[in-house]
Amino acid sequence: MHHLRDVGILDANIRPPLGAASPDDKTGCGPPITARDEEGRTHSVADRKDQGDAATTRPRFAHESEAEFARLLDFYGIRWEYEPRSFPLQRDNQGRVVESFNPDFYLPEIDLYIELTTLKQSLVTKKNRKLRRLRELYPNIRVKIFYGRDYRSLLLKYGLAKAAARTPSV
């Protein structure tokens, strides 16, 4: 059996109740910041017309790789939300959040967060540190991270060589 880490995808495999503070939160970081309205609904992409393309109700993605990933999920009919929650990782003495982790996607039907990391290796190291912290603070949240190499091979699987070529193979 190949361990996920051996092949480049880190499975935080954590699953806490959504929108609730982790009982294991010993650092005072508090509950995740969620984009919920007064009725407690999580905001979906469709609610974000002001942030993206109003004609298609798609959010303004930070990177083309995220837009491609959203198209892939759409193609197979998988519901997704774009950066719906922010998980505080560190607060200062006044309780202000000074570091947080915002996974790129949340797939509500399978209760899974996905982070695409198509960055240079130096930035991946920082991302890995934040992911480890996330796992410590929110041990029940399920997160998978796709590194550049993983995402590139995913694109190649679908014959998208040009898109893959734009993705660093770290």
């Binding site: 190949h2 996920l4 892939l72 999920l73 193609f75 399978i110 993983d150 190649l156």
Partner: protein, 184 residues
């Protein structure tokens, strides 16, 4: 140039594949002994696996095939997966086994399961020759039978393709990286 020249290394030989398929078929024959299961295969990748698996199963079965568009296909212009060949048989009340060549992200299998579940089969499970768990996105699939776990590399042969080539290789191997990006 021979097709096999594009292979960096062989992951599973023809003999290893057939041994594993016989073991899987024996297990399926035991598990479904009291039924007449319907084996549903997805074209084209699972073609050879379906042929060998079904012939190694010793109980009565029926077989059927589906085909869907894939993300990135030139034909997939609608932005959503499309069924291009539906089943010929009705599956309501049947014990259905979805036969896949490989499951990696799980997106295709998840779509197929949703499509089949809507038709009320008596049971629905997955039999896959290869499992690339490292790349799984949908990790809730009912995979009952798996042949081999494979690393996150570009594998071809025994039905698996790259740009529709390499399917007819009798073994499963890793494609050379320099071949993958070639547009041919």
């Amino acid at each position: 140039m021979a097709l096999a020249d594009d292979i960096a290394r062989v992951l599973f030989t023809e003999a290893q594949i057939q041994d594993r398929i016989r073991a899987m078929a024996a297990q399926i024959s035991r598990d479904y002994a009291a039924t007449v299961p319907l084996l549903v295969s997805v074209l084209k990748g699972a073609l050879y696996f379906m042929a060998d698996l079904s012939r190694a199963i010793t109980i009565p079965i029926t077989i059927d095939f589906m085909a869907i568009t894939s993300y990135g296909d030139e034909t997939a212009s609608t932005g959503a997966v499309r069924l291009i060949k539906d089943l010929d048989e009705k599956i309501t009340g049947r014990h259905v086994l979805l036969v896949e060549d490989i499951i990696d992200t799980g997106l295709t299998a998840d779509y197929l399961l949703r499509t089949l579940r809507a038709r009320d089969p008596a049971s629905l499970n997955i039999c896959t020759l290869l499992d690339k768990a490292a790349r799984r996105i949908v990790d809730t699939l009912p995979i009952q039978y798996r042949g081999f776990e494979v690393p996150d590399e570009f594998v071809v042969g025994y039905g698996l393709d790259h740009r529709q080539l390499y399917r007819n290789l009798p073994f499963i191997g890793v494609l050379k990286p320099e071949v993958i990006t070639l547009n041919r």
